[in-house]
């Protein structure tokens, strides 16, 4: 059996490992186009503040792990897929046959339509190579403008602050991380960032970037302000890397369309991770989530099916955890709530604390929090297990911080022996 | 002769069936010694920590000598304390 995985991110690596567990004799190959061992983007912020070496971002020990697992890792770009012949053509002209193919090519940052993005002071923050450029330009005392206060933008805020730059953030939405947090929570993040000396512009866009003297650029904002910067970082969202499949008959929407087995419209080709438009646990719709836990879930489910186990995925829960200059926030599932559902929240502006729970009937369907680090995972447990909370729903309506108590009470026998 | 026994706390399990919470009226041989009565109910010397006859404390050494008389009320507690 020949399993070929295109993409060396978390989805690809977990898929390869799962395949190995299920089939000790299969040929398994990961083909990645970045000139690095498989690494994790989640680690980049920590690399930016010198907390870790580059090697600290590696998904697995590159020298030992893949060899020990008998997984071949190839650093090449894949140019073409011949789905009929079940053959890949690589950039160096060589080719690979496969029995089952997994597309785990991830996503790439979107460049917004802003004049001046091609200036050498402008970078995205997506790859290790981007990180190296940021380190080079984000010197202590220099001015840096970050375009986009989404998830990716926010996770590198702390790194930039710690590097000692003067930081301005420009976000088109009316709050920070608008696709992850509601107005109250996003507002807390904004105040927090401002207190830390970050110049935050929300409901604001960048009209253009122009070269200026001394290797600086000038960033013109829609609110009329002009910011001088040595470095501009764009973090305005990502898009699935579906190019490879253009021209095949595989169905593509926002990402590669897959069924609950992570199978594309071609039964021998699967897709996983940021590139895949898989089933969402909460809505049952097929969506691109582009988050780390979903990537690993996808990788596992795809591998199960590639190895012949018939495993239908119940869907991945959209969730995020974010550390914004020391303020931890997270959100799960339908954090914005559902029609006819109940919600409970506690909000303490002074202490930067927030918790919001969203119910449908007596089960939890979404949640978000700010300033909490303990037991937050149980929100996933409560949502994904669809636990009937019974009386505990009323208690959570009164005190939404009692999430762990609710979970323990609903799952453990609290009787006496 | 007739005496009453009262077993409290964890010693309640040694009481013969009856209605009252702690107290049983029982018949015993005339001249029965206190320590013998305690043995008859399988209460160990460690368990019979506080022993009163008619509300008066009888220490461990005196129990073997103490003869019960008609109408005595014998109350027994395991080691307990409070405050």
């Amino acid at each position: 059996m020949q399993h070929v995985i295109v993409g060396a991110g978390p989805a690809g690596v977990v898929a390869a490992e799962t395949l190995r567990k299920l089939d000790p004799d299969a040929d398994i190959t990961i083909i990645g186009d970045e000139p690095e061992p498989p690494y994790s983007r989640m680690a980049i912020p920590y690399y930016l503040i010198d907390n870790i070496e580059e090697s600290g971002s590696y998904l697995r020990d590159p020298d030992k792990h893949f060899k020990a697992q008998n997984i071949e890792v190839v650093q090449q770009r894949v140019d073409k897929i011949d789905a009929k012949a079940k053959k890949l053509t690589l950039a160096d002209g060589s080719s690979r046959d496969y029995d089952k193919l997994l597309i785990a090519t991830g996503s790439h940052p979107i460049s917004p339509p802003i004049p001046g993005l091609d200036l050498p002071q402008v970078h995205s923050c997506w790859t290790l190579e981007d990180a190296r450029n940021i380190i080079r330009l984000a010197k202590s005392g220099s001015n840096v403008v970050l375009i986009g206060a989404g998830f990716i933008g926010c996770i590198i805020l702390e790194a930039l602050v710690k590097r000692g730059v003067h930081l301005a953030v420009v976000e088109m939405g009316n709050r920070m991380v608008p696709r992850m947090l509601d107005e109250k929570a996003g507002g807390l993040l904004e105040t927090w960032c401002k207190n830390k000396g970050i110049d935050v512009h929300t409901s604001c866009s960048v009209d253009g970037i122009e070269a200026a003297a001394d290797d600086q650029v000038e960033v013109n904002l829609s609110d009329g302000s002009k910011l001088s910067a040595a470095l501009v970082i764009t973090a305005t969202g990502v898009k699935a890397n579906t190019d490879l499949l253009e021209g095949t008959d595989i169905n593509i929407d926002q990402g590669v369309l897959v069924n609950r087995r992570m199978q594309t419209s071609n039964p021998d080709i699967y897709a996983a991770g940021d590139v895949a438009q898989g089933v969402d646990f909460s809505t049952g719709n097929f969506e691109v989530q582009a988050i780390q836990p979903t990537a690993t879930d996808h990788g596992r489910v795809a591998a199960l099916n590639m190895a012949g186990k018939d495993d239908e995925h119940h869907g991945t829960l959209n969730m995020n955890v974010l550390d914004t200059v020391g303020l931890v926030s997270c959100s799960f599932g339908l954090w914005m709530g559902v029609d006819g559902g109940d919600s409970a929240e506690l909000y303490n502006e002074d202490e930067f604390q927030y918790i919001n729970l969203q119910f449908e009937g007596d089960h939890l369907v979404g949640a978000s929090s700010v300033g909490k680090t303990q037991h937050v995972g149980v929100l996933r447990g409560l949502i994904e297990s669809k636990i009937h909370l019974g009386d505990w729903k009323n208690r959570l309506m009164q005190d939404p911080t009692a999430i762990m108590e609710a979970y323990v009470a609903c799952t453990q026998e609290l009787s006496y022996s | 002769m007739n005496v009453s026994i009262e077993f409290y706390a964890s010693l309640m399990k040694y009481l013969p069936p009856g209605k009252s919470r702690f107290r049983r009226e029982i018949k015993v041989d005339n001249g029965l010694r206190l320590s013998r009565l305690i043995e008859q109910y399988h209460i160990s010397p460690e368990e019979a920590h506080l022993v009163l006859v008619n509300g008066l404390f009888v220490c461990g050494e005196d129990r073997a000598e103490r003869e019960l008389v008609e109408g005595d009320v014998i109350s027994i507690w395991p080691p307990v304390a409070g405050g």
Binding site: T401 | A9, L56, P78, V80, A81, G82, G83
Partner: protein, 616 residues
């Protein structure tokens, strides 16, 4: 060393919170908690000051073993001048608040002055600040606890606060912590409220890592825990039956006072006993006792967690009182029950809940209601004063009604809130107040048990069993049995218990450990935790030093040997029946001997040589 070496000083007049180093010289002389805080109080407060004025201070203090793995090492005390007695007040509480304060990095908090508006103190590790208390003033202690948890969104926040009775000026209000633990006696909560301080909320994440000899400490505390586990009282009796097991014992030996100590022996005792608490009831098949619960670090776990019968008249229409909460402990069960003649377990449990919720000392409250009942029965007090309530001995309905009125501060509450001494004086019957130095007795009649009478009479905070629990010896045979009705040797016994208890209270430990532990179990734990010499001898001398220091405070406050006395009833009115029939307390036979073994003068003064011996 185990002390954090840091004191938080809160000036409520100025609204400031400042950190200062712990006086280590004093710490080495007075250990911590009761002893050390009393030292600060005696140095900083004029004993003649108005207890409810801004010149009184209130200290919340932990011991060096508070917050450690030493069994029961979770206690703190509240120290101030008492508004009930005018003497030194030191009330000890378990729960989780004390340990949390230590984890936040503080040995003690000294509150001084008075805030002009209601406030609460928020401590988050080394950050401490006063916050506006508008949202919690006027709320019960339970509501306050809930509101602060919700405001700060932290389930781990620990709260000590006062209920509504303290705000209304009840002179025996407690500081409540963790909802149902109390620094209960002598009105320390009233002092807190007088400063417009509603609550202290604390969260500590630093922990305790500065044990002097950590390895020796773990060995000593493990040995201590093994002793507690193997001892029949602390290993089995207390967890299973709690302190309430004493109800039948003390009744059985003829020393259970009843009906304002007019009688000895209570016919309803068994209905409100530990055994009754464990019996399934008819309505729902569940017992009153839900489980036993522990305070922080305690491997005994004597605490009662109870529910009231949901069909009982007191809670039938009140679902908020149908859940579990802190149940009856012996002293509360006696004062609320036998002393008022009420043997309705559910009514007493409910009233106990209300005592916890609004923070009144159930001993003094029960005894004060009992005094009122005696005056109601003799016609001194009528339904005119009680707002129509037939306040008769034995009436659960009347007791529930008057308590519900009391917590709101309405009706007869102002009179009952004075405590029995002032109440009986007000109505011209001063002899009906069963108090020493103005504080009500606990549940052991000194006519039946001689030594405890001496302990009551000489207690530095007024009548109290926890200042020298000679019951352990006189009734329970711990460590050795002494005769209840003997006066010989009782002076020495009382002194030994008083000094040892002062030391245990100052370490951060619970006095209940002493049912199993001797000083040779306790001293090694302190010695491993703290720098300095904490041998058995030094521990006992420290206890004696503390006792004498407290006495000196009272002396300066105006107390004399004339205050080391018992009410006439206990000296003159004989017990009418039962095994102790014909007895009175023979305090006169014991008191001179007590002064002598203490090294005091015949009129109860502490002479220079005794002061020098104890470095006072």
């Amino acid at each position: 060393m185990s002390w954090t070496r840091k004191i938080l000083r809160v000036d409520l007049s100025k609204g400031t919170c400042t950190s200062e180093p712990l006086n280590m010289e004093w710490a080495n002389q007075y250990l911590g908690q009761r002893g050390l805080a009393s030292k600060y109080l005696t140095e900083e407060v004029d004993p003649k000051c108005d207890a409810l004025g801004p010149d009184n201070k209130m200290i919340m203090a932990t011991g060096p073993l508070t917050g450690t793995m030493a069994s029961t090492g979770g206690r703190y005390s509240v120290i101030c001048k008492s508004p009930l007695t005018g003497a030194i007040a030191c009330s000890n509480s378990g729960g989780f608040f004390g340990a949390e304060l230590k984890f936040a990095g503080w040995d003690m908090i000294i509150f001084e002055g008075k805030s002009d508006k209601p406030v609460y103190l928020l401590i988050q590790d080394d950050k401490a600040e006063l916050r506006p208390g508008d949202g919690i003033w006027g709320k019960s202690a339970w509501e306050t606890d809930d509101i602060l948890h919700q405001t700060h969104q932290d389930p781990q926040l620990r709260v000590a606060c006062v209920g509504r009775t303290a705000e209304h000026g009840c002179l025996y209000s407690a500081v409540m912590n963790d909802k149902h633990r109390a620094a209960g006696r002598s009105g320390v909560g009233t002092v807190m409220a007088s400063k417009n301080l509603k609550a202290v909320a604390v969260r500590g994440t630093g922990g305790i890592g500065n044990i002097n000899d950590a390895k020796a400490f773990m060995a000593a505390t493990n040995d201590g825990k093994a002793v507690l586990a193997e001892n029949a009282v602390t290993g089995q009796g207390l967890p299973a039956y709690g302190t309430q097991v004493l109800m039948n014992v003390i009744n059985g030996v003829g020393a259970l006072p009843a009906r304002n100590m007019r009688d000895v022996g209570f016919e309803g005792a068994e209905n409100i006993s530990a055994e009754a608490m464990a019996e399934p009831r008819k309505s729902d098949g569940r017992p009153n006792l839900t489980t036993n619960g522990a305070c922080f670090s305690c491997t005994i776990a004597c605490g009662r967690i109870s529910t009231v019968d949901p069909t009982h008249f007191s809670v039938k229409d009140k679902p908020e009182y149908q859940g579990a909460s802190g149940g009856l402990e012996y002293e509360a069960a006696w004062a609320l029950g036998a002393d008022t003649g009420v043997d309705d377990l559910d009514a007493l449990t409910y009233i106990n809940f209300l005592c916890n919720e609004d923070g009144m000392d159930p001993i003094t409250y029960g005894a004060t209601v009992a005094a009122a009942m005696e005056m109601f029965e003799d016609g001194t007090i009528t339904t005119k004063e009680t707002g129509g309530i037939e306040l008769k001995f034995g009436s659960a309905e009347a007791f529930v009604a008057i308590t519900e009125q009391f917590v709101t501060g309405e009706g007869f509450a102002a009179d009952l809130g004075m405590g029995s001494k002032r109440l009986c004086e007000k109505y011209g019957k001063p002899d009906l107040s069963m108090t020493v130095k103005g504080q009500e007795f606990p549940a052991y009649d000194p006519r039946g048990i001689q030594g405890i009478g001496l302990a009551y009479a000489t207690s530095n905070r007024g009548a109290c069993h926890l200042r020298g629990y000679t019951i352990a010896s006189e009734v329970l045979g711990i460590p050795v049995k002494t005769e209840m009705n003997d006066t010989d040797g009782k002076a020495e016994l009382v002194k030994a218990f008083q000094d040892a208890t002062a030391l245990v209270d100052s370490a951060g430990l619970c006095v209940f450990t002493t049912f199993a532990w001797g000083m040779d179990n306790i001293a090694p734990q302190i010695d491993a935790a703290c720098e300095g010499d904490w041998s058995v001898e030094n521990c006992l001398e420290t206890g004696e030093r503390i006792w004498n220091m407290e006495r000196l405070f009272n002396e300066a406050a105006g107390f004399t040997a004339d205050d080391d006395k018992l009410p006439k009833r206990l000296l003159k009115e004989v017990i009418k029946h039962g095994p102790t029939e014909g007895q009175v307390n023979r305090l006169g036979e014991m008191l001179p001997k007590y002064y002598e073994v203490r090294g005091w003068t015949a009129d109860g003064k502490i002479p220079d040589e005794t002061r020098q011996r104890l470095s006072l």
